[in-house]
């Protein structure tokens, strides 16, 4: 069996030797370079574009504006409000207005002198609460609200009436940069005006295919997208390559030559999507005996200038706003609001980290008021099989939540490490004796609605292609992508076991939109599960084709055959009929069909937004994070010592790549909670546009990360698996801040927990308490 083993990644060797071809490594004959003229203003009318055509001609630079686009000037994501190039108005700093294409970037730079765009500045709004129902500034529709979701259960007013204690806070969350190490880039290679191929770094080739076809006004079947080795994505390459690929394609269409569009780090940080900043108002009602009576949440997601993925991101925020707990009275009102900042988008966790930080802070604060251990308080309310989520979905199987809590608590030695928070008096007394460092331990428990859920139902299908070769090796293709997470490896393991072939003999061909039909995006932890299911479908068909040939030769009953190891057995006699390899060779000799397509549609989901109830997701994954910190009471510096991350994933197809997801996600989550924030200027441009000003964790900031794997299988998943991309990042930030609270007795309503914030909160508490 290949499934369940720590097999070496399929792409390991090519990556460690530097041979993996990323977009910027590709070269094409007569390739041209594309640059963008971008808006310097956050909100302005474009009054006039003046171009010195003679000068540009002499320079050999071709320019393109919105007026030159042959098809629709729309980058389709969900709501169709995002243009490829601004036409009458710009809505954020860095918005593309024109493209420049020539044989060198130096020429493009020179050409900027001969283009003059006249703007008339308009008033701006950057805060989502301010932008909602703004009287005069309209970026989207009449109220700037581009999406709305709600969760409703029971009677919220009554719930608070029956509560003894009410905890109410407003939380603020920053924009987080993906900081994938490979920047965005695409290369468009046209065949005249007849058809086009786009190569590039991306998560969702089928998104790019549609956008390029619509921008160029070309049949979709003439547009081919090939994913190049993708150097990290984390959601940042979900919808942004729609723009990057389409700009390159538009340039290639203009000059009828291959066009490269590769972003520098600064251009990438300044102009592409990030995690949505948010304002979350959270009210929790509890009784004196520790019952969670009522939860009311208002979410304002700042979407920036265009809606892009906000309706989908907001759906996840709304569904995850209360958490994996039983509560009878719930009211969640969630709004995505457009502002004059860069369009925000998908980022691992997809709207959930913005609500999980408040939710898990509130749970901890409730436990604190009640003087109950915060892990015990959570345990009192956890979901089990048979329970119903706050949005009314009954959980019928695969709920390993309690196991994650117990395992994380046990391995972290929680009860021994958890001490009461010190008083300010104690902290000051210790400081007098030169003791500044204080340890603390914190917890978060989360659930994750696996895959696209009801909001993305339409995209929730996958294709696969499997072909056996005469030498007994297998090639397969899928429409989901590898961006570092290990998909090629785990899918190869699944195919190996489904067909009874050695892992080393299974090979995935690069993702290419001409190989399999639209398989939806590679997001929402869905690749292993959904492409896995489509591959299982294909392999089942292939097994039948092989069995049919065997049946003819060995006069055995087709229902009586099974594959075990690498051999075909007769079930009734448990005799080996033939090896799989020989059977494949035989199938070829007999001119049997050797290639099949697989197809899968995700298990059904629905959500009624009028009622705020529904079966929101196909399955749920669960996680408990425990974090131990050391806080310097003099400087506010927080040193994170250990993270214990216990995940119920259904089944670990490859424990090594699974741990890789947990470890990497945990560190990104630590970045979100402790270091990372995009700083905007008062004019709406980005100040922290490189790794000197936007800090992500280095080896020096990395704690010991302990991955704990729980397998509570999901009957619909391949081998019981539920997916692991997103969960590792989701609950780390509140576990960190809860640990800080335990260490020094302060509470933060805003992350990241920078030394300044921690220090200021401590000083405030000193002043209040003394």
């Amino acid at each position: 069996m290949a499934v369940g083993k720590r097999l070496q990644r399929k792409d390991a060797r090519i990556k460690v030797t530097g041979k993996a071809p990323y977009a910027y490594d590709l070269e094409f004959a007569d390739e041209q370079y594309l640059d963008i003229i971008r808006s310097p203003f956050a909100h302005a009318k474009i009054k006039e574009i003046k171009i010195d055509k003679e000068k540009l001609k002499t320079l050999g630079v071709v320019v393109g504006t919105a007026a030159d686009i042959p098809g629709k000037n729309i980058l389709h994501v969900i709501l169709d409000d995002w243009p490829l190039l601004a036409e009458k108005k710009v809505n954020h700093v860095g918005e593309p207005v024109m493209i420049l294409v020539s044989s060198s970037r130096e020429r493009n730079e020179e050409a900027r002198k001969f283009v003059n765009i006249e703007y008339e500045k308009l008033p701006t709004v950057f805060d989502p609460v301010e932008a909602k129902d703004h009287p005069t500034i309209h970026i989207f529709g009449t109220n700037n609200v581009c999406s709305y979701w709600q969760q409703k259960k029971g009677d919220i007013k009554n719930g608070f009436k029956e509560s003894d204690i009410i905890i109410e806070n407003e939380y603020r969350l920053p924009a987080q940069e993906h900081a994938y190490i490979e920047t965005q880039g695409c290369i468009a290679v046209p065949q005249g005006h007849d058809s086009i191929t786009v190569y590039g770094s991306m998560q969702c080739p089928f998104y790019v295919q549609r956008c390029v076809a619509e921008i160029l006004g070309m049949d979709w079947s003439k547009v081919n997208i090939i994913q190049t080795t993708t150097g990290g994505a984390f959601g940042g390459k979900e919808d942004v390559p729609n723009q990057i690929g389409s700009l390159a394609a538009f340039g290639a269409w203009l000059v009828k030559k291959p066009v490269k569009f590769l972003l520098s780090r600064e251009e990438d940080i300044e102009t592409t999507s990030k995690r949505h900043p948010a304002v979350v108002r959270y009210k929790t009602g509890i009784t004196n005996d520790g019952m969670l009576k009522a939860v009311q949440v208002e979410v304002f997601l700042n979407t920036g200038a265009y809606s892009t993925l906000a309706p989908a991101v907001l759906y996840r925020a709304a569904m995850h706003a209360v958490g994996p707990y039983r509560c009878e009275n719930v009211d969640v009102q969630a709004y995505a609001v457009t502002t004059n900042l860069v369009p925000f988008g998908a980022f691992r966790g997809f709207g959930s980290p913005q609500v999980i930080f408040p939710a898990e802070e509130q749970m901890d604060r409730a436990a604190e008021v009640l003087d109950i251990d915060p892990s015990d308080f959570r345990e009192m309310h956890l979901l089990h099989v048979g329970d119903t989520t706050t949005f009314g979905q009954k959980l019928t199987q695969s709920v390993g939540l309690e196991k994650t809590l117990k395992k994380a608590r046990e391995q972290s030695d929680w009860y021994n490490k958890r001490k009461p928070s010190p008083s300010i008096k104690q902290i000051l007394e210790d400081q007098k004796h030169g003791k500044y460092l204080r340890k603390g331990i914190g917890i978060s428990t989360i659930f994750y609605g696996c895959f696209l859920g009801a909001a993305g139902k339409i995209m929730s299908r996958t294709g696969a292609y499997v072909q056996i070769e005469p030498d007994g090796s297998v090639r397969f293709a899928v429409g989901t992508t590898e961006m570092g997470q290990g998909m090629i490896t785990v899918l190869s393991q699944i195919v190996a076991d489904e067909l009874g072939i050695e892992y080393d003999k299974v090979h995935m061909t690069p993702v290419d939109t001409s190989r399999v039909p639209d398989s939806g995006p590679t997001v929402a932890s869905r690749a292993t599960i959904m492409s896995g299911r489509a591959l299982q479908d294909a392999c089942k068909q292939l097994r039948t084709l092989i069995y049919q040939k065997i049946t003819e030769k060995f006069s055995v009953n087709i229902e009586d055959l099974e594959i075990k190891g690498q051999k075909i057995y007769q079930k009734s006699s448990q005799k080996v009929i033939i090896s799989v390899l020989e059977a494949i060779k035989f199938t070829y000799q007999e001119r049997g069909r050797v290639a099949v397509s697989g197809w899968d549609v995700a298990p059904s989901t629905y959500f009624d937004n009028e009622k705020g109830q529904g079966d929101a997701y196909s399955a749920y994954a669960f996680c408990t994070n425990i974090v131990e910190v050391e806080v310097d009471t003099e400087t506010g510096i927080v040193n994170v010592l250990d993270i214990w991350a216990a995940h119920d994933v259904g089944k670990a197809i490859n424990p090594q790549t699974l741990e890789g997801q947990i470890e990497g996600g945990a560190l990104q989550g630590l970045g979100y909670g402790r270091y990372e924030q995009i700083i905007f200027t008062p004019e709406g441009s980005i100040l922290s546009n490189n790794f000197g000003t936007y800090l992500i964790p280095t080896t020096k900031d990395t704690p010991r990360i302990h991955s704990i794997i729980i397998e509570d299988p999901w009957s619909e998943g391949p081998y019981g698996a539920k997916g692991i991309g997103e969960q590792p990042i989701m609950g780390i930030a509140p576990a960190v801040t809860n640990a800080i609270a335990n260490a020094v007795g302060i509470r933060l309503n805003e992350i990241p927990a920078t030394p300044e914030r921690v220090w200021v909160a401590l000083q405030k508490k000193i002043q209040e308490d003394i």
């Binding site: 390991a12 060797r13 990556k15 460690v16 530097g18 570092g484 090594q656 280095t698 020096k700």
Partner: protein, 153 residues
């Protein structure tokens, strides 16, 4: 300007613009694309190579800055420690997206060339100039330690 240097054991004598970056010389002039672009500012470390025994970010080294007869080792080189680390990185799952991997392996190579017995703190110090956004560095530490064990045998 004319420059003479050794890259991965091969001697080159070339005419180069003095303001050309070592990164571009390696990638464009020599076709050694294993050295990756990441930030242009020497901050991410993806372009790290070993120059005269020291780890450097090749995106902020100009050709004119190279000492005479410089010796450069890149991910395509045939050094014993480098190749062992390539194996242990593969075995331990230390490469995910792979964009930082060549730079990270070069930093680990430079570290072990100088200090084969580097402890956890020294490994962290040695690798802190290369950013990885995928792995949480955990499997990278395991890969370095696996290489140390084999070098010690």
């Amino acid at each position: 300007m004319k420059i003479e240097l050794v890259v991965n054991g091969v001697r080159y004598s070339r005419e180069v613009p003095p303001n050309q970056r070592l990164l571009d010389f390696l990638r464009e002039d020599l076709g050694l694309k294993g050295t990756k672009y990441g930030c242009d500012q020497g901050e991410c470390g993806a372009c790290s190579v070993i120059l005269n025994g020291e780890i450097v970010t090749s995106c902020i080294i100009l050709m004119a800055q190279l000492p005479p007869q410089s010796d450069v080792l890149t991910i395509e080189g045939e050094d014993q420690i480098l190749q062992l680390l390539q194996t242990t990185f593969s075995e331990q799952g230390a490469a995910q997206c792979g964009a930082c991997t060549p730079g990270m392996i070069m930093a680990a190579t430079a570290l072990l060339m100088k200090n084969i017995k580097a402890n956890q703190d020294e490994i962290e110090e040695g690798l802190c100039g290369v950013l990885c956004r995928c792995t949480g560095y955990t499997k990278i530490y395991e890969a370095v330690k696996a290489a140390q064990r084999r070098l010690g045998e």
